[in-house]
Symmetry: D2
Subunit: 353 residues, 4 copies
């Protein structure tokens, strides 16, 4: 629990990527946080403002390697490192420094079934003990466990966007589990800052394409959460697309209801599920959300529309992939873990236009 | 049949919109066509280059009203007017001038069942005689009839994109007709040039949204063509989206096979269906198309990918909405109708980047 | 001066435009402000969240007409109305309610010489008394007067961007006043939310053009401020351009030094002028700013680069047109007027990417 | 001169870059050209359609190394290789194969003064003999020499855009040579296809910045051509910018007239200079061009506007950087060299929207 007057000392590991930069921006305006360590192994020695000029003039620690970090002097680590690497870093941290708490933005601790991890990621999990402590960090669904854990596994951006609207419907038994189609579109920033031909402006602007068709790794998170919510195995169809925009995830979800449930029933179940939540807004029945209206905020906006064919419902869900889809939810989880109001340092209204 | 040496005299009705401008661009480079009339009722009297500065320096007739056009002096009309208006204009043309041939880009003559027209468009069809002569203009599927008709009804942009890959599969009986989901994304130019708040740059850039959810009018074309191909009523799920790009339609189509058919079978059926076609390219099995690679061309590129779950296939189809999705296919149909090689004046390679 | 515990009651006039929405977003996170009135004459009766869905779930007053506002119940008005209209609204407010303070975002009170106003805006100024009280609101240059005034005239977006780097150089006598060229590029959101063909996505994306060439009204503000700073008439060359982006102003300024001054001297003068400022960052000599790094913040970043020809210097200045270029500076001015720290409710780091 | 019936055999060296792809697209629709060789050293062995899927279905030679090309079997080489490398490749070609003709798109043969080359490019020129034969390939200005040469040095994209409007004014002695400011904006495709962080979509979209400030290499071409046209050394100010678009160059040029010349005189000089040209359109006095209206065409559109201050004129020039700014002008030069109509295979109307 946070001690009044004393700030939480935060380290951000992997600060030279986009989710790292977003964490620095958010935590930089958090009244109870002091950023005391920033790491970026390949850019160690540089100032954060050299790597991200939006921070020119801000008072921030220089980038270091992970080894250089004095872990005694931090209370929480936000870990924005590549999967595979992450599990070793976090296992070491948790063993060396039992009081440390961690929000991990990689995929390493999201799958509770390590066989599934090995299948989707192509190598065995090597931090099995730590994995057992991990809580899957969709805040609204697992808040009670997040409050208590040492290790929150922040979900994938496509995953959060699809799980928030689908899980309550599965829990309520309202939908046919054999016929769930999730067509998800993301902005480019989700792909990170590593240079590759396919991510060049001239290759991405003025066009659209699907990727990872039939095999994207976020599918494993959907399988885990959907199956758990339904009480039996659920294998949705999921296809991610890259749209020519920087931020935003937009999932169009095609559902069929069970037992004569209507679009209105679906809408009511979602409105009830999120009625007390700051960051999830269920729009009036029939209203379609737009990704631009959540841009810059930690919000998830959800719309429910009846199809022309009875029994079919289209549910649409949208988040800012760098916020509710990554760093924003990470800070929300941090707030929950440390007893701060969940919206501290997070925008509750999108920056539009 | 075209007489060597004598050019076909073309009138473009509705030349101040985007499909009109694209027709002017294409026909302006057609060696057997002379553009002799351009209409735009509200901009009559202006030069085409004032309305579209890309034509500065080109020798083109001034814009007039439709009434001012001397229909004796034209052989073909490309009609790019709003639906509703169009049926009256075309009925008059066909009665007054029986030798005239028409390619209509509106929705007015696409639905052969006039009750369906009334249902989807909210008013009765008032050119029933002419409607009977109309041929639905997906060139590759209805070429024989297009060659002979006086009136080709050029299909909707979403419709062409979805019909080309799905119809051969329905004809071959390869797919479950109860479970077709078409998630289609379009660039902004398909919405035309009329000023509205929702189409402003600041409202469209850096975001994505669905529109017409559960009720878009192109659905009626899909119902007609899918049901005809399957031999019984087929009601697909179809949701169009607006992506922040000018050109391109990208349809992600979720299918389930019948009778143990594999993704390879689906791929083979499509490759066979379009093996001799200039403008339809079926990519190698597993390869995913991108809308940007057809931009500026009359091409449709189709990809087939197996899902991780057996029996599920993802088929992806993409066109340039202003070309194969509108004016390009109109010129292709014109070429077929007048006996020219179908690719005359049409780009066979996309302009990328 | 702000009374601890009691919030300032703010009215936003013209809340249905982009600067209005941005004011709602900013003031909605201001701990000492309560938004008590929102007006939009043509959308009166609607909820703010209907007009701008980013506010779904927020507790905001409904939109009303200006007449319906109880001016007794507000302490400050942010006025985001069209020029011409504004002067009448503000004159009435200031006469009826002497204790009210106003930040005006229109052009009506920016020019102290009413003959200049009449020349550039095409009609006489009709609130001459109020005009005399107005302070031109570039906060960093006129802070002392802003603190005391009832009426701050928030500057134009191009104006702020150019004035911040040029005025200190004119005051220091470092540059040739006969040879100032300002090539300014803006994002589309500066043009507002009124529907017009020229502002459609398909007309703005994938292209660039100048507008108002040789006659843009922000020129009048530059003339006023440059001449005042130099002590004699200065008529810079100024051309605005529209770039295919939502936010950002980027001014490339071509200067020639006087008396053998170097680019280093120019840089030092600017660095000194803004050394204590939160929102103006002068980059190291030779470093070029990018508009994206100030996006979402109230910052102005300034770079100074020597040309290959001695005596020529390129100075580059960039702001977010809706923040430091409009609503952000309005809130900064409000903070100054009411004794709050200037950065309250304003982002000090850009949201990149 | 081209022999009727026999096609010119063309090799494109460096076909895996954007200018290479554009050459393939253009020459692929040229009735008198057969593409017989495509090189890309690092992608040798791949099909062109693998590297650029817009060519799927087209009949093209596979990519090879340069060494593998049988130069006996080609009549013309389009060379789209990096500078430095190029001069060696071309020197070898010209010595080995005297009948071969070459259009070079690199910078290697643009500067006739090899000392200038060494200064701007940082190494000595090593193909001095070949350099002497090179003709600077702004077609409209050097057509007579281009027709006869073996080696055309295709100009830089910024260079063509600025030279076309400025050179006639210098030749006519209409402008003050001490005060030329060229503010140029380019789309991203000019930067090529090599992966780098600064060229990622998320780094380029929604923002604008200058680059190469005070030292961009195209300046050397401007110096050469402006000085030659004026008859004495002219050193313009030139700053290139990167705008968030794929294609287009847009140069805003600030001029001061000499001897009382008016904007009308400037306009007349340009209209006269280009009155017979297919690809250069001088707009009516006062009309401002937009880069989008030349997109996809080989056109250069030029506008002339009077500033509010007498004696100052703003001239604006725009091209598609990959066409008139690179591959389009290369094909235009090829057409001139081989006696074909200059517009063969080139679009004379922009593709807008």
């Amino acid at each position: 629990m946070a001690d009044a007057g004393q700030k939480i000392r935060a380290g951000i590991f992997g600060a030279s990527g986009y989710t790292g930069a977003e964490l620095v921006r958010l935590l930089g305006q958090h009244p109870q946080v002091e950023i005391t360590a920033l790491t970026a192994d390949r850019k160690a020695g540089q100032a954060m403002a050299e790597v991200f000029p939006q921070f020119i003039g801000r008072d921030l620690p220089a980038l270091t390697t992970i080894r250089e970090v004095n872990t005694d002097a931090i209370d929480v680590v936000f870990c924005a490192l590549p999967h595979g690497t992450t599990q070793h870093v976090i296992a070491d941290l948790m063993m060396d420094q039992p009081s440390l708490r961690i929000v991990d933005l990689s995929a390493d601790f999201r799958l509770s079934d390590v066989a599934e991890y090995a299948k989707w990621y192509g190598h065995n999990h090597e931090a099995l003990d730590q994995q057992k402590e991990a809580v899957y960090g969709v805040t609204e669904l697992y808040r009670d466990a997040i409050v208590k854990t040492r290790l929150t596994a922040n979900p994938g951006c496509h995953s959060t966007t699809a799980i928030l609207p689908v899980v309550p419907l599965l829990r309520a038994g309202l939908i046919d589990t054999d016929c769930i189609v999730i067509d998800s579109k993301t902005g480019m920033s989700g792909a990170g800052r590593s240079a590759s031909e396919a991510m060049l402006f001239s290759e991405v602007a003025e066009g659209l394409h699907a990727y990872g068709v039939g095999k994207h790794r976020h599918t494993a998170e959907l399988d885990q959460e959907f199956s758990k919510a339904a009480g039996h195995e659920v294998l949705a169809s999921f296809t991610p697309h890259l749209a020519p925009m920087i931020r935003g995830i937009y999932a169009t979800i095609y559902l069929r209801t069970k037992g004569g449930a209507s679009a209105g029933d679906v809408h009511k179940a979602l409105a009830d599920a999120y009625s007390g939540e700051t960051f999830v807004q269920v729009l009036p029945l029939g209203q379609v959300p737009q990704s631009r209206h959540v841009r810059g905020s930690n919000n998830c906006q959800i719309g429910v529309v009846a199809d022309r064919v009875e029994g079919r419902v289209i549910v649409i869900s949208t988040v800012d992939n760098l916020l509710k889809g990554a760093s924003g939810q990470a800070v929300q989880n941090f707030n929950a873990m440390f007893g701060f109001p969940e919206s501290t340092a997070l925008a509750i209204s999108g920056m539009f236009p």
